[in-house]
Symmetry: D2
Subunit: 373 residues, 4 copies
Amino acid sequence: MASETAPTTGPTDTDAQTRRPRVAVVGASGYAGGETLRLLSGHPGVEVATVTAHSSAGKRLSEVAPHIDLGHDPVLQETSVETLSGHDVVVLALPHGESGRIAAALREEYPDVLVLDLAADHRLESAEDWAEYYRSEHSGTWTYGMPELPLADGTRQRELLRTAREIAVPGCNATAVSLALAPLVRKGLIDHQVLNAVLPVGYSGAGRSAKQHLLFSEASGTAAPYAVGGSHRHVPEVLQNLRRASGLTREDGLRLTFTPVLVPISRGILAVCTAPVTDGTTTEDLLAALNEDYGDEHFVTVLPEGVFPATGEVTGANTIRIGAAVDRHSGQATVISAIDNLVKGTAGAALQSMNLALGLPETVGLTRTALAP
Amino acid sequence: MASETAPTTGPTDTDAQTRRPRVAVVGASGYAGGETLRLLSGHPGVEVATVTAHSSAGKRLSEVAPHIDLGHDPVLQETSVETLSGHDVVVLALPHGESGRIAAALREEYPDVLVLDLAADHRLESAEDWAEYYRSEHSGTWTYGMPELPLADGTRQRELLRTAREIAVPGCNATAVSLALAPLVRKGLIDHQVLNAVLPVGYSGAGRSAKQHLLFSEASGTAAPYAVGGSHRHVPEVLQNLRRASGLTREDGLRLTFTPVLVPISRGILAVCTAPVTDGTTTEDLLAALNEDYGDEHFVTVLPEGVFPATGEVTGANTIRIGAAVDRHSGQATVISAIDNLVKGTAGAALQSMNLALGLPETVGLTRTALAP
Amino acid sequence: MASETAPTTGPTDTDAQTRRPRVAVVGASGYAGGETLRLLSGHPGVEVATVTAHSSAGKRLSEVAPHIDLGHDPVLQETSVETLSGHDVVVLALPHGESGRIAAALREEYPDVLVLDLAADHRLESAEDWAEYYRSEHSGTWTYGMPELPLADGTRQRELLRTAREIAVPGCNATAVSLALAPLVRKGLIDHQVLNAVLPVGYSGAGRSAKQHLLFSEASGTAAPYAVGGSHRHVPEVLQNLRRASGLTREDGLRLTFTPVLVPISRGILAVCTAPVTDGTTTEDLLAALNEDYGDEHFVTVLPEGVFPATGEVTGANTIRIGAAVDRHSGQATVISAIDNLVKGTAGAALQSMNLALGLPETVGLTRTALAP
Amino acid sequence: MASETAPTTGPTDTDAQTRRPRVAVVGASGYAGGETLRLLSGHPGVEVATVTAHSSAGKRLSEVAPHIDLGHDPVLQETSVETLSGHDVVVLALPHGESGRIAAALREEYPDVLVLDLAADHRLESAEDWAEYYRSEHSGTWTYGMPELPLADGTRQRELLRTAREIAVPGCNATAVSLALAPLVRKGLIDHQVLNAVLPVGYSGAGRSAKQHLLFSEASGTAAPYAVGGSHRHVPEVLQNLRRASGLTREDGLRLTFTPVLVPISRGILAVCTAPVTDGTTTEDLLAALNEDYGDEHFVTVLPEGVFPATGEVTGANTIRIGAAVDRHSGQATVISAIDNLVKGTAGAALQSMNLALGLPETVGLTRTALAP
């Protein structure tokens, strides 16, 4: 194959009517950026025009991500406002902080470009929450990229995304927990003051930077909790989502205990959420509430009674699968969701929101079929 | 090496004063039986005299467990009361039900032999609990083999084991949860009506029988919950332990939600236990309670504030490591314990109890050092 | 999502001109059948009309393969000539032997249907080879489904597939080794009498039947060779391919030592092939020969000098990646290829051949982009 | 447990007659150093007096290696000639180069101390080989720590170790290949000019430094070759061993093609070695030669005909298991060995040699029983 030949651009491509939106992916050598490119490689509605990186700038994409075939093999550019000019869409796959800085510069220069930020910088509306959990200055709040989130007024987050030009892509763990719990908190089926989530999670969520505790030999054969005791940064994001979904306020005592556990898988989050049920709530009630909110959602699968999801069922897919049960002995509900942290938890969510903001069909370039085994 | 030569038995071995107790391991081709043999291969105080199996009977040990070196390579015998005669100790590593049957026959024939049952048959004191969770007839209640369990009267379970001739070895998940929670329930530091445990667990706990969902290709890359919603058989066992530790009765509303999640490790259980704290309980209170009960325990390590265990730290060791914290936002305690399900959770616990019952030093043949990475 | 609704079939679908070919997949609950369905779920040119199984017949597809979304959720049928009637294409994903029997019955009844056999039954042309390696009666020889294989007459195997109605899909290991070595044996660059291949392979190649040595706990943490010493059934298949590619005959002493090693990955074959070079062969010669044969091949990537493939670069993709070097100290060539055994090694190869036989573009429904990490 | 209390030293310990040798382990925070400590924690004949590290100096051992229990929890010292004074044994677990420097300083100051170097610095006798493969200055040649290596004069390497004060511990891959091939090359059963070894290897062999390609997410699900084409540094070491074992000289054309493949296991090397057989060599001949050389070796297991080793059978053990067969079709021998790279390949080999040099029983502190599953 002639892998390094750039795609030929014929005259029809210059026709403004038919030209596909040009996308730049910033931070293409990391996992989130790479996954964005993987999905874009199969997206018929947009064109990957530019890819950038930091320490890998100057290399070809095939050197840092040999699994991706864009049809050509671009050289990774330095990340700058200049290299990002002339695009319709910019996807920022950077560490938080860096993301906020380049976003601010970019918005000033190119106010019309659609920017999607995969980092946390623009997710929280509360500057106090930001300061407490991220210990830096707040960059502002963008439209939250979780189309399926039911809102207290009966609409969906989806509607807000159709006109957005600045989209904050949700955190992966926050996605798994928020979508699992929102319908139940909305309906008052569980005690929102005693929410609990334990999340076996894969290593790709920790990024591609070389750190000792992420080495294969350290990770293999162990289950290792982190951020125990309340420090995880997705906690305020989940609570914000649950407030938006339910209309509860900060005074209503929404409280969540949140414990991620690294387990030796590359991709995947299993959110095991529990809470005492309110009087009389049954398994059927839980499933009815989930089906009511998600029955029409293309990328949400509510499982039948007695069936619970595993992360291996969603690898590479943009789906979230959710099962629920009430334990009659303990009086608690257990709601379990599974996602691929890099797809539904990151790059897939970004593309889904991008599709909405570009006026494309919401599902284009995304799949419900996973890779297994 | 001449691996098939039987060990020579010199004259001093025939001296009744110094003769080492003869041990039979029943079900040696499974994981629990194999692990018992692995540990016994390094135990200086007893002699492995007989190993038995079912479908593997007639094979040599090296064919079913090539990793074990007993100094000789015994042929696996059929399991029968006859092949088990003439031993001082019999360790039953059989599926529950089978275990109860052979135990009954054995006790009748050889009332003096020390029998340790690795299966569940003799753990529960309540025939009602047994009937509900195991759906078969109760085999009776043996002395529970968890030496470190603090009892409501201020003693330890250890004392009961010194004179026991029938020992029910605890369930692996039950060990991880019971030892983590007992000191806190005893002291009333957490709400015992809203206990919760989510346990990433390894595949060896599911045994060595060939089942599709245990295949490498099914297990690799996934986190898969099971027994969701209250059906796990270790629930009544944990509650029984917590009642013994605290003096609470069945009327006091001890309630536990329990969700194991299979993750792709062979060995290991990480018990992530949560519960609302009672008024004013701090992280220091949790750690003080744990240290008070376990400070002198050789095989229990209570970790310093801010440190939590991972299963990879205990692989092959007979230790349980425990960390704890109070989340000041959510008002919940998180207590996390890690064990090797085959050692502290099964075979190590058996040997520790056996040592007590034989009057040997409790720690002989067991190690606090794990294999890592 | 309304996952169990069958797709609506509008009037235009009945138009014979535009009707998509109807495909039946036999053995859909296994890995090869499942992977065929996974790929077909994204194939726009054909319709999955029927899926069958043996012990899983009567279940819905979502029960045995929850990762696949065909747009509807078919019930698995019993496998019989009747359930397979009325299709344009039948893909047999059965154990060898079973495959030959149903194929014979099917061909008799429906001589026009395109049948692809993923099993070994129809790969070998020599009944003697078949008898020696498979110890059963030979079922005959079908057109071999390896489009890229260069033939001694200067054509490709591709040409034979355009008119085939009976296609024997190659073995996965045979694909990895044959494509790596064929160009070099053709050109006489290596000593074809001292060929050697060692293949770290994943567990999915061993199928989904529950066998003890395939359990996660057995497989995790080990590298385990099998079929050592010449007994592997892909040996005669590779030699047949190399003869076809080179024009060498059985008298020319083609000889291959072949050692697969199970390693703890689900998917992937890395074929490490070595042979003494003939006089003066350099690394450049090896790469030139590979590029000459494969430069135009969409699904073959010949890597630059000094770069070698890893299986993680092809997971889910229909590509084979090949690197080569001459060791100047040892005088041997090392040629390494990587494939996904379930895609390029099985289901992807089947679809590629099906596309050719149906007159569709060869690459439709197949991708060069892999899933990583 | 009171883990930070230093061991009490009673009066008899001060008795020079019975004092246990004091050992210092240099580089205790890496995998080789950690494994040395793990094994020493169960070694009754020596005392771990000092542990040192570089970037981790100042931490307690439990912070960098929480799986090890020495009975006390030492603080890691800086590595210097001063901190290493007053010991009987110093084990250097450092990167090559660093190892040579500290060794030189140490020998000058304390000529009587027994030094074992786990790095490569002192393995090769040829300064030319060293220069070619390591591109630095040669540090000299120490006694090679492979007790079982048969020598051309009919003795074993063991004899040389009894009086050694400077021991170069072998490379892990070199151990697996050398012990597998030495008996066959000695007897002339295989063509020593066409030796080939492909080695699926685990990640712990690459060390504990944080590098991107060693991350779990990179390593999981892939088989990745490296050092392809002759550049691996263990090649000259293997050839040196085979010359010593056989009496062949550099002029005799010993040639080895050597390809390691990283596979997702932490520990383990499977050396798949092949070579054309010389006239008439049978499987029985191979096994007879192996048994002749290793029949009395405690840590070498030659497997029966038809049985081949897997790395999972030796995890944590100091054993090497070897199987062999002649492929009658291809005329090649396949000899496969399995070791734990950190034990028989590094720390176990070091302790075995140390035992010899200290006049202790060779096997003390080492085990033939592995951890499985």
